[in-house]
C-alpha cells in the first residue's frame, strides 16, 4: 500500500494539536455485558452537541461472552463511513485488549480498565497515550447496596461514558439528557446511570490534567435530525406504506425489521373502534412458509412483505419464481450479511445482488431496490409496495447489516403524500362491463402488465385459476409452445416497463470528468468520502452515480455512456454488479473497474482511494510501456 494513503497524514498525531469534531472512537467490550445503552448514550451526547455522528456495532454471533466493538465516528463535514484508523480506544474487554492496542495506529489514545495492565513493562507501546481508569473499583462505590451488586457489570459502562465525556469535551448535561431519553420511564435506572457517568467524569477531571486532543465542540449540524437504524426505518415505511400482512422467520441481521414492525403496529394499527388489529403478522416456521404466506396474502390482495437475509432468500427461491410467473406482488427485504452457516453471519456484505436479481429457476429477473440511508429505507419500502402492485411481481429491497442494524443520523422522514398505487385491479363492476372479455394474463395496454381480480370479487366471471408456468391469456391450462413463448415475452416487456418505473439514480457530475465512481447502497458513504479526498488531496476529479435500483434505467445508462472509466464500488468478492453491467452493456464492458471490499466490515474510504489510485497507476504504466 502506498504510504500516501494513511488516513492520519494531515491529522493530529501528537497530543498537542487539537482536532475538533473529527475522530473515530472505539469501545471494546464483551457481548452481553450491557454496553449497548452506554454506547448509544455516548453517541447521542455527541449528536446532541450538533456534531454529525454515526455508530457501528461490530458484534459476534453469540449472546454472551464474545468480543464486541462499537465504533463512533464524529465528523464536522458529515462523513459517516467507517474509518480504518481509530483515534481513541476504550478497552474494557480483557480478551481483546492486547490485540486492540497492537492494531491501534501510532498516536492513538487508549482509555482502559486499569486491571488490564496495558502499560505494564513489555506491553506498553510508547507511541500511544494511555489513560488507566480503575473502572471496576469505581463502580463498587455507587453499587454498594446489595440490590445493586448485580448491576455492576452493566453500570460500569456508563462510567466510561463519563470518563470519555471529560477527556473529549462532551457536555455532561447532554449525556444526562441522552440517558433520560434512552431509559425513558425508568427513573431509578436514570438516576443510577447519571451517577455513574458523573463518577467517571469526576475521576477523569481529578486524575487526568492532560486531555485527549480530539475534541467535541458544539456545532449546529444535527438540528431536526433523528437517530435510527435502517431496519426500524424500513418497518416504519411498511406501516406508512399500507402493508397489512407480514410473515417472517428470525435471522440476523433482518429480525429487527419485523420486530420493529410488530412494535409500531401495536401502536399504530389498532382499530380505534374495535380495538382489533388491521394487520396480521405471522412468525412462520421457516422462510419457505414466510414467502408462501406473503404470496398467498398478496394474491388475495393484501400488501404483504417478508424480511430475511441471504440464507432465507435461498430457501424462498422456488416460491419467488412462482411469484414471477403467476405475477403476484410481494415485497422482500434482504438485509444482506456474510454467509453461509456459522462464522460471520453478524458481519456486513453486499453479497446477494446476483442471488436476488436472477432469483429462482428458469428465466427470471426481478426489480431490486438499493436503499442507502434510513430515509431511503422508509421511502423505498413504500415505493416497493407501489411497484409490486403496479408491476404484479416480487420486488426486492436490498439493505445490509451495516444499514439495517447500525445507528444512523438521518433527516426526519417526510410524511407520504401520495395515495397507495394499487395497480391494475378490476372490481365486480369492471368485470361486468367486460362481459367475460377479461383475460388475467392479457396485455391490454401494451406495457406487459395484465389486469387482475381479487378473490371474493362478486361476479361469476371474476375468478381465475392461478398456476406457475402453463397458462394462456385467459389463465386456462396450456402446454402449447407458442402460448408459453408469448407469455414469457410479455413478462419480459413488463420488465422493460419496470425499467422506467424503478427509482432513478442519484447523479453528481460537478466535474464533468471522464471518469466516475458508481456505487449503491451503503457503499455510498465510503465512495463519496473517497471522491472528495481524491479531488482534494490527489487532484483526481471523479463524477458520481449512485444506483438506486435494478433494472438499469435510462438515466444510469446515459451516465455510464458519458464516462469512459467507471469505478464500481461494491462489498463483495466477485464484483456482482459489474457482472450485471457487463452483461447488459457489453459495449461498455472494459470501462468498468471493480473496487471491492469484502472483509465483513463496512466500506471505508481508504479502500476506494486505493482502488482508484491503483488503477490509475496501472493505466499510466500501460501507456508508458
Amino acid at each position: 500500500m502506498s504510504s500516501v494513503l494513511t488516513e492520519t497524514t494531515s491529522r493530529a498525531g501528537a497530543s498537542s494539536e487539537v482536532v475538533a469534531n473529527d475522530f473515530s472512537l472505539q469501545v471494546a467490550t464483551a457481548n452481553g455485558s450491557g454496553s449497548q445503552t452506554a454506547n448509544s448514550v455516548l453517541m447521542r451526547s455527541i449528536f446532541r452537541m450538533g456534531v454529525p455522528v454515526s455508530g457501528k456495532n461490530l458484534f459476534p454471533s453469540n449472546i454472551q461472552g464474545l468480543p464486541t466493538w462499537f465504533t463512533i465516528r464524529a465528523n464536522k463535514d458529515g462523513y459517516i463511513a467507517r474509518k480504518r484508523d481509530l483515534d481513541v480506544l476504550v478497552c474494557m474487554n480483557p480478551e481483546t485488549a492486547d490485540d486492540d492496542v497492537r492494531e491501534a495506529r501510532a498516536g492513538a489514545f487508549v482509555v482502559y480498565e486499569k486491571k488490564l495492565g496495558l502499560e505494564n513493562p513489555g506491553r506498553k507501546r510508547d507511541d500511544l497515550t494511555y489513560y488507566a481508569v480503575p473502572f471496576s473499583e469505581l463502580v463498587v462505590k455507587i453499587t454498594s447496596a446489595p440490590e445493586h451488586a448485580k448491576l455492576r457489570k452493566l453500570i460500569v459502562n456508563m462510567v466510561y461514558v463519563g470518563v470519555v465525556a471529560d477527556l473529549m469535551g462532551i457536555d455532561l448535561e447532554e449525556t444526562e439528557k441522552a440517558i433520560a431519553k434512552q431509559l425513558k420511564g425508568k427513573p431509578k435506572a436514570i438516576d443510577l446511570n447519571i451517577t455513574a457517568a458523573r463518577l467517571g467524569l469526576d475521576y477523569a477531571k481529578a486524575n487526568f490534567p492532560s486531555k485527549i486532543p480530539f475534541r467535541v465542540e458544539r456545532m449546529n449540524a444535527t438540528q431536526g435530525k433523528i437517530i435510527i437504524e435502517g431496519n426500524a426505518a424500513a418497518a416504519l415505511g411498511c406501516v406508512f406504506g399500507g402493508a397489512t400482512v407480514c410473515a417472517w422467520y428470525p435471522i440476523t441481521p433482518s429480525s429487527s425489521l419485523c420486530e420493529s414492525f410488530i412494535d409500531f403496529c401495536d401502536d399504530l394499527r389498532i382499530d380505534p373502534v374495535t380495538k382489533k388489529k388491521n394487520v396480521t403478522i405471522i412468525q412462520a416456521e421457516d422462510e419457505i412458509a414466510s414467502i408462501g404466506i406473503v404470496l398467498g396474502a398478496a394474491w388475495a390482495g393484501a400488501r404483504s412483505f417478508t424480511s430475511t437475509s441471504g440464507p432465507g432468500i435461498s430457501l424462498m427461491s422456488e416460491f419467488i419464481g412462482l411469484g414471477y410467473y403467476a405475477e403476484i406482488p410481494a415485497v422482500i427485504f434482504d438485509i444482506q450479511r456474510v454467509g453461509p452457516s456459522t462464522g460471520l453471519p453478524t458481519r456486513t456484505m453486499q453479497g446477494d445482488i446476483l442471488l436476488c436479481y436472477f432469483n429462482s429457476h428458469g428465466d427470471t429477473k426481478h426489480p431490486v431496490l438499493f436503499p442507502a440511508s434510513p430515509e431511503e429505507c422508509f421511502t423505498m419500502a413504500q415505493e416497493a409496495f407501489d411497484l409490486a402492485e403496479q408491476l404484479q411481481c416480487p420486488i426486492f429491497v436490498l439493505s445490509d447489516l451495516d444499514l439495517g442494524m447500525n445507528t444512523w443520523m438521518s433527516d426526519a422522514f417526510p410524511y407520504p403524500t401520495s395515495p397507495l398505487k394499487r395497480g391494475k385491479v378490476l372490481d365486480a363492476d369492471a368485470i361486468a362491463k367486460l362481459k367475460g372479455g377479461w383475460g388475467r394474463y392479457k396485455d391490454v395496454d401494451g406495457d406487459g402488465i395484465p389486469y387482475r381480480t381479487l378473490p371474493g370479487t362478486p361476479n361469476a366471471y371474476a375468478a381465475y385459476f392461478t398456476r406457475g408456468s402453463g397458462h394462456d391469456e385467459k389463465a386456462q391450462y396450456t402446454e402449447k409452445p407458442q402460448d408459453w413463448v408469448n407469455n414469457v415475452n410479455r413478462i419480459a416487456r413488463k420488465f422493460d416497463t419496470a425499467r422506467t418505473m424503478v427509482p432513478k439514480p442519484e447523479i453528481q457530475d460537478p466535474f464533468h470528468a471522464p471518469a466516475g465512481i458508481l456505487a449503491y447502497g451503503t457503499s455510498h458513504y465510503g465512495s463519496t468520502e473517497a471522491r472528495d479526498k481524491l479531488a482534494k488531496d490527489f487532484g483526481v476529479q471523479l463524477d458520481y452515480c449512485r444506483l438506486r435500483a435494478l433494472p438499469i434505467n435510462a438515466e444510469a445508462a446515459d451516465w455510464m455512456r458519458r464516462h469512459d472509466r467507471i469505478y464500481v464500488v461494491e462489498q463483495n468478492r466477485d464484483a456482482q454488479l459489474v457482472t450485471i453491467l457487463r452483461d447488459e452493456f457489453p459495449e461498455l464492458a472494459t470501462r468498468f473497474v471493480p473496487v471491492k471490499q469484502y472483509n465483513g466490515l463496512p466500506l471505508d474510504a481508504t479502500t476506494v482511494i486505493e482502488g482508484v489510485l491503483g488503477d490509475r497507476d496501472q493505466q499510466k504504466q500501460k501507456r508508458t510501456a
Partner: protein, 352 residues
C-alpha cells in the same frame, strides 16, 4: 354478499338448485386429466356435492393445492371459485396467507400424501398447530402418482411397488399426527365410500378451524395390484367405519330435527351440529387419548379406521388468536392503514 352471480346460461325449465339458488353445474370444474378410475376423481365429485349441498357461494371459495395428481384436482371443481396451484408441499402457507388476508373466504386445500407427508410435512404440522380455518384434504394413495409410482411416506411397511420394490419404512399416519398436534377436526375416509366422504366433507366445511381429512384414494396406475396396501381391493376389505356420521347443516330455512338416541352430539359454533352414531357405540370423538388408541389398535388389526376420528370445536382458530378484525385486509381505506401526520411526527421526536 348481496350480488348474485348471473347464471351461466338461462335454462328454460328451472333446474334443480341448492338453497342459495344455484344449480349443480355452478359447482363443477374443468374436465379431469387424471387416469380413468383414479380415486382422486371420485373425491372431486364428492367435493362438488358437498359444496353444492352446503350452498357455499362459489366466488367466496378459494382453492389451494401443492403439486401432484391430487393437487391438480382443484381445477376440476368449482370453476367459479379462485384457485391457487402453488408449489410442491407448500399449500398450507399460500392458504394461510390468503385466508388471513381475507378471512371472509372459505378455504379448500387439496394435497397428496407426498405433498403433505414428505416434502410438506413441516407446513402440514404448522397449519394444524395454528388451526387455520381451512378444509385440508389429503388424497392418500401411498405413492407419488405424478412422478410415476415412487413410495410416499404413507406407504405401509411391506407394500410392494409395481416393479417389485418393497417399502421398509414405518408409514406416517397423518391423522394420529394431526391429533397429537392439537388438530381440531381429524377424519379419515375412503374415496370409494362416497356417502361417508360427502358427509365428512360437509362437516369439515362447517368446522371453523383446520379440518384434516385423510382420504384413502387408490392410484389405479401405480398401486392397484397384488401387494399394494392402497388398492381398491385392499381398502374395501380393510375399511372399518368407526361410526355413521349424520351431519345436519344449520340453515335458516331448514331447522333440522336432531333425532334422539344414544349418540354423541357435538355442537359447532356456526350453528351446525355433528351427530355421531357409531358402530362402536363407545367411540367418543372428543376423547383425544381414546382416538389415538383406537387408531393405533386399527393399525395393529391392519384396519383402516374411517369416520370423524377426533373433533374439538372449542379451540380458538388462528384468526381469533391473531386478534385481527375478521374483515378483509385487502382493500382497507387509506386512513385505516396509514397513520396520521402527528403519529409520524411523534415518532420522529422520540428519535431526536
Amino acid at each position: 354478499m348481496s350480488a348474485q352471480p348471473p347464471a351461466p346460461s338461462p335454462a328454460p325449465a328451472a333446474p334443480k338448485t341448492n338453497h342459495i339458488g344455484l344449480p349443480k353445474a355452478d359447482y363443477e370444474g374443468a374436465k379431469s386429466t387424471l387416469c380413468l378410475g383414479c380415486g382422486h376423481d371420485v373425491i372431486t365429485k364428492q367435493i362438488i356435492n358437498a359444496l353444492y349441498e352446503m350452498g357455499l357461494e362459489p366466488h367466496k371459495v378459494a382453492k389451494f393445492s401443492g403439486i401432484g395428481c391430487s393437487s391438480k384436482t382443484p381445477a376440476y371443481f368449482l370453476n367459479r371459485a379462485w384457485g391457487f396451484n402453488g408449489v410442491h408441499g407448500r399449500m398450507p402457507s399460500t392458504a394461510t396467507g390468503a385466508l388471513v388476508a381475507n378471512p371472509t373466504l372459505h378455504g379448500i386445500g387439496v394435497s397428496g400424501d407426498g405433498d403433505t407427508a414428505s416434502i410438506g410435512i413441516g407446513q402440514f404440522v404448522h397449519v394444524v398447530r395454528r388451526n387455520l380455518p381451512l378444509v385440508y384434504i389429503i388424497e392418500d394413495n401411498g405413492v407419488y402418482g405424478l412422478t410415476k409410482g415412487q413410495f410416499s411416506a404413507t406407504a405401509d411397511i411391506g407394500a410392494k411397488q409395481k416393479g417389485g420394490a418393497v417399502n421398509d419404512f414405518i408409514p406416517i399416519d397423518c391423522c394420529s399426527l394431526a391429533i397429537e398436534l392439537g388438530g381440531t377436526f381429524v377424519a379419515r375416509s375412503f374415496s370409494g365410500d362416497m356417502k361417508q366422504l360427502q358427509l365428512i366433507l360437509e362437516a369439515a366445511i362447517a368446522h371453523k378451524g383446520t379440518a384434516i381429512i385423510d382420504v384413502i384414494s387408490p392410484c389405479v396406475t401405480f398401486n392397484d395390484h397384488e401387494g399394494s396396501t392402497k388398492s381398491y381391493k385392499y381398502s374395501k376389505e380393510h375399511d372399518t367405519p368407526v361410526h355413521e356420521v349424520g351431519f345436519v347443516p344449520f340453515f335458516e330455512e331448514t331447522l333440522a330435527e336432531i333425532p334422539a338416541g344414544d349418540s354423541k352430539e357435538v355442537a359447532f359454533p356456526d350453528g351446525s351440529v355433528l351427530k355421531f352414531r357409531g358402530v362402536g357405540r363407545d367411540y367418543d370423538p372428543t376423547d383425544k387419548e381414546k382416538a389415538l388408541k383406537t387408531i393405533h389398535e386399527s393399525h395393529g388389526k391392519q384396519e383402516i379406521l374411517t369416520g370423524i376420528l377426533y373433533v374439538d370445536p372449542s379451540k380458538p382458530t388462528f384468526s381469533e388468536l391473531l386478534g385481527a378484525t375478521g374483515e378483509s385486509l385487502t382493500s382497507l381505506p387509506l386512513e385505516k392503514v396509514r397513520p396520521g401526520r402527528e403519529a409520524l411526527e411523534e415518532i420522529m421526536e422520540s428519535l431526536r
